[in-house]
């Protein structure tokens, strides 16, 4: 359900009231900066820096004593289990804003950006508190995970003496989560599955070519009337318009006619930088394929290459080219 034009206008008007306000509650750390929480953090992160755990190494370092990992800054003031269970202070305007989004169908929430500045590393025994301002709310955006609004907040952290120790801007997307029927969840791909290449659409005109590839042969379609070669497969000869055809097998030998190196954007399932070349096959037609196992800077027009038919993911075979 999306808000209709009029509803959306009213909804967005009400959002304006939240922009620029302090959320009204101070987040105060329940614990002083302490060695136990630092140790748990370092174990989780696999961080073996001596400044966080080794009294002697820390004393010899620029820090002079045990300090907390800077990235823990926000962790000191998070509310733990109680916060996640929704037992928040009813005066909290940020929570109120999130509820307001929830009530209008924007129930999803995901953190997308954070910028943190650390004025100095925190020392054992400091008690951190944070004040947060709702800095801005974006216009409605269509994103990959759904339609929603970005909320930017700015938080300033201080210690028990009122000394500012760091600050943070945090951006979350409140979005209308796509409907996820139970069946779709069950059918959801294994999270550990690797991305696969996009499959070709197979039909009468091209399935034979993929079947040849499956058997390890790079086929080239040939006009039965005039003998001209063509690729990719199609029903009619571009020279004589004959629809009768046969095919030959390529030796896989070729020469690079032209190429590009793709660095961005990265499509899942490919390795980057990706060399995509137009190759003059020795038999006399052209073929578009990837050139692999070579530094992209060393690829040249005119370079001799040879094809090998290989699995490029768990299922799909393709000819890939290497320098001959």
């Amino acid at each position: 359900m999306s808000l209709s034009g009029k509803e959306r206008e009213e909804f967005e008007k009400k959002l304006e009231a939240y922009v620029g306000i302090d959320i009204g509650v101070e987040d105060v750390a329940r614990d002083e900066v302490n060695q136990a929480m630092i140790r748990h953090w370092c174990e989780a992160m696999g961080d073996r820096c001596g400044a966080y755990a080794d009294v002697e190494a820390a004393a010899r370092s620029v820090h002079g004593e045990i300090v907390a990992p800077p990235a823990m800054l926000q962790a000191w003031v998070l509310g733990g289990v109680a916060m996640a269970a929704g037992q928040a202070d009813p005066r909290d305007k940020q929570k109120e804003l999130h509820r307001f989004f929830d009530e209008h169908g924007y129930t999803g929430v995901v953190a997308t950006n954070t910028e943190q500045e650390y004025k100095r590393y925190l020392r054992l025994g400091e008690r951190i508190s944070a004040r947060t301002l709702i800095e801005s709310i974006s216009e409605q955006k269509a994103t990959a995970i759904g339609i929603g609004y970005f909320i930017n907040t700015r938080t300033v952290f201080q210690n028990q003496h009122g000394e500012e120790v760091g600050s943070m801007t945090f951006r979350v997307l409140k979005f209308e989560a796509a409907e996820q029927p139970a069946a779709a969840v069950d059918a959801a791909p294994d999270a550990s599955a690797k991305p696969q290449r996009l499959k070709p659409g197979l039909g009468f005109d091209n399935k034979w070519w993929w079947d040849c590839l499956e058997k390890g042969e790079l086929a080239i379609q040939k006009c039965s009337q005039c003998g001209v070669l063509r690729h990719p497969p199609r029903p009619m000869c571009h020279e004589c318009q004959s629809t009768s055809w046969e095919y030959i097998f390529s030796s896989g030998q070729g020469t690079i006619y032209s190429y590009v190196v793709i660095r961005y954007p990265e499509v899942p399932g490919y390795t980057y930088p990706l060399v995509v070349a137009v190759i003059d096959l020795a038999e006399g037609t052209r073929f578009v394929g990837n050139v692999v196992d070579i530094d992209p800077d060393e690829v040249e027009v005119g370079m001799k290459v040879v094809a090998s038919i290989e699995l490029v993911d768990d299922e799909m075979k393709l000819p890939v080219f290497r320098p001959a």
Partner: protein
């Protein structure tokens, strides 16, 4: 001063950091969420993650932040001080995958003796995280 720490003058723009592959286990995702006091269910409860449209629990932003910082201080050493981290999240970090952190020095500021490191954390689906870390290095002076 620890001799294993990088000195500001020894770092050049373009220097690459050693890659750091991180195995994304449920244990790491849950331990990271708990260590950061973030008990949002999607980071430890698979059913909650699935009803939010994900296949499994996924890493919270504080853990990503912690790993990115660790990646830089593993390289820079004990006498480095991280002053800024700015990260943007992309594809989620899900169990069973590997995130490989890579980066290089993109800027040096002589005045503050800080270097800016560009960091990318890739998993099988693309960039989980892109961003920068500014770190102050000792000058030996």
């Amino acid at each position: 001063m620890s001799s294993s720490s990088l000195q500001y003058q020894d770092v050049k723009v373009g220097d690459a950091l050693p890659e750091l592959p991180i195995d994304l286990t449920v244990s790491l995702i849950v331990a990271g969420a708990v260590a950061s006091q973030d008990y949002t269910p999607v980071h430890h409860d698979k059913a909650a993650a699935q009803s939010a449209g994900m296949q499994d629990v996924f890493m919270n932003i504080l853990t990503t932040n912690g790993l990115v910082s660790r990646f830089v201080t593993d390289w820079a050493g004990i006498d480095a001080r991280v002053t800024n981290v700015s990260i943007k999240l992309g594809t989620p970090n899900l169990p069973g995958d590997t995130m490989t952190l890579g980066g290089s020095v993109c800027e040096k500021d002589d005045g503050s003796a800080t270097v800016l490191v560009e960091v990318t954390g890739k998993n099988a689906w693309g960039n989980h995280v892109t961003g920068t870390v500014r770190v102050a290095l000792p000058t030996g002076a």
